[in-house]
Symmetry: C2
Subunit: 275 residues, 2 copies
């Protein structure tokens, strides 16, 4: 009897944001191959008899190649084992699941995709930013910092000028470069943005600022995610309504230290995010 | 003592795609206000003593206004109750959470956002479509059918020409109009697309086709979602690799009835999706 591979999303960080299906599969899988970003608390939910392997990369340096991961998954499934390939967030958004699916199909291995809460949704929830809004943004674009660093100005112009909320995954530490690129692509200096680090985890951090003031990210706070657009103002205590928002006022607020950064366990009341 | 409102994502349909946190809150809430699209199996997870109210709209006709929903949430929380506002998918993606957050903030009610698996991720998993892919698509755009129907050709051109995967929420029944608009915006007739109906539910349906052949959706199959872009080919058994894909061949395959529609419980093997 041949086994099966489940490509499973582990969600944005908080173990409670795992789906019930992901939990069931973790508890019943024979083998688990997980990425580096998956929290240890989630890995510990695996059955005591499961074989658990970290196949992630750290700081871009792979411990194990994609081909090796594909080989391990197909070998285990071919020998009749139930395999969980656990990825942070959702497997189909910047998760390389496409390549693993192709390998599984070539090897004639049955597979199933189990969606998870992608990082953008965790970050938006952490910061209280609606990614779309009837009055402000009718669309949202997910892209990566790598695309931002690439030399394709044309693509950036299309996104920047669409009026959509932009969510930039894996922005890296060089946030200033991304900001410059977005400004060159047509966004205003004072466009609101938020850097959300370790979203949904106990030590999450949310920094509200503008593109012009976007500073290099602190190395400690990875993984982070950048949200750009007018909807960011909706999460600000001093911007209850985007219609009433004075951008000049926002700029003053955003450069005042202490007002920018909300520490862990952000809660929302009338006066906005508070410690 | 004042209560609290949790804006909670119920996921794309399958009750097993609820997060552990959503389940905990459903079991402990005093009052639950849910949308129409939330599955009855999920509502039944609520505590037996909880008050449960459907505040959704059906076919665009609201049973209850947004202002009434805001009033009910704030009143219950003000009287010390724990309120769950349960929305299908994720609350911050086309979920009007922005408006509810503003109301809660005005009323000085504490709130918290609990992300969920948004419909696009459920649909992509159901159809086996990676929304991003290193070789094919470096970005994904979520937008609504209403935007598609609006008269803003300019915005559509930006998205259509960006090369990003497009995910159209609530495309409605008039898929032909959306297809025409996308073609006018610059996409080729033969651009691959998939209509996913009742994704992640027992009776889910996936239809693979091209923009030129996009037919009106059957009323029975709502809610549905439209995914447009080259990544759609990656889910097709006859398109193991996009690099090798002959578009002409795809067109022949896509107009052959029976080959297009994969019924519920789609599973994937080497030969692709099978019943």
């Amino acid at each position: 009897m041949r086994g099966k591979v489940y490509l499973v999303g582990a969600g944005p960080g908080d173990p409670e944001l795992l789906t019930l299906k992901a939990l069931r599969l973790l508890r019943t899988a024979d083998v688990i191959f997980h990425d580096d970003l998956v929290m240890p608390e989630i890995i510990r939910l695996a059955s005591l008899t499961a074989q658990v392997h970290n196949v992630g990369k750290r700081c871009g340096a792979k411990k194990i190649s994609q081909e090796e991961i594909n080989f391990l998954m197909t070998s285990c499934a071919s020998s009749g084992l139930t395999v969980v390939r656990l990825k942070s967030g959702d497997p189909l958004i910047f998760g390389r699941a496409g390549e693993e699916i192709e390998a599984l199909r070539r090897a004639d291995i049955e597979y199933e995709i189990v969606p998870g809460v992608t990082a953008a949704l965790g970050a938006a929830a952490a910061a209280g930013i609606p990614l779309t809004h009837r009055r402000t943004s009718h669309a949202v674009v997910f892209l990566t910092g790598q695309l931002a660093a690439a030399n394709d100005e044309a693509d950036w112009k299309k996104f920047a000028r669409s009026g959509a909320t932009l969510v930039i995954y894996m922005p890296g530490r060089d946030l200033g470069t991304i900001a410059s690129r977005l400004i060159r692509a047509g966004l205003r200096d004072e466009t609101a943005c938020a850097v959300i680090s370790r979203a949904t985890m106990a030590d999450q951090q949310v920094q509200f600022t503008t593109l012009a003031n976007l500073a290099p990210a602190d190395e400690r706070t990875a993984p982070s995610l950048l949200i750009v657009g007018e909807v960011v103002c909706l999460a600000r205590p001093d911007f209850a309504s985007i219609a009433d928002a004075a951008w000049a006022q926002f700029q003053i607020a955003s450069v005042s230290p202490g007002a920018q950064t909300f520490s862990s366990q952000t809660r929302f009341t009338k006066s906005g995010a508070t410690r």
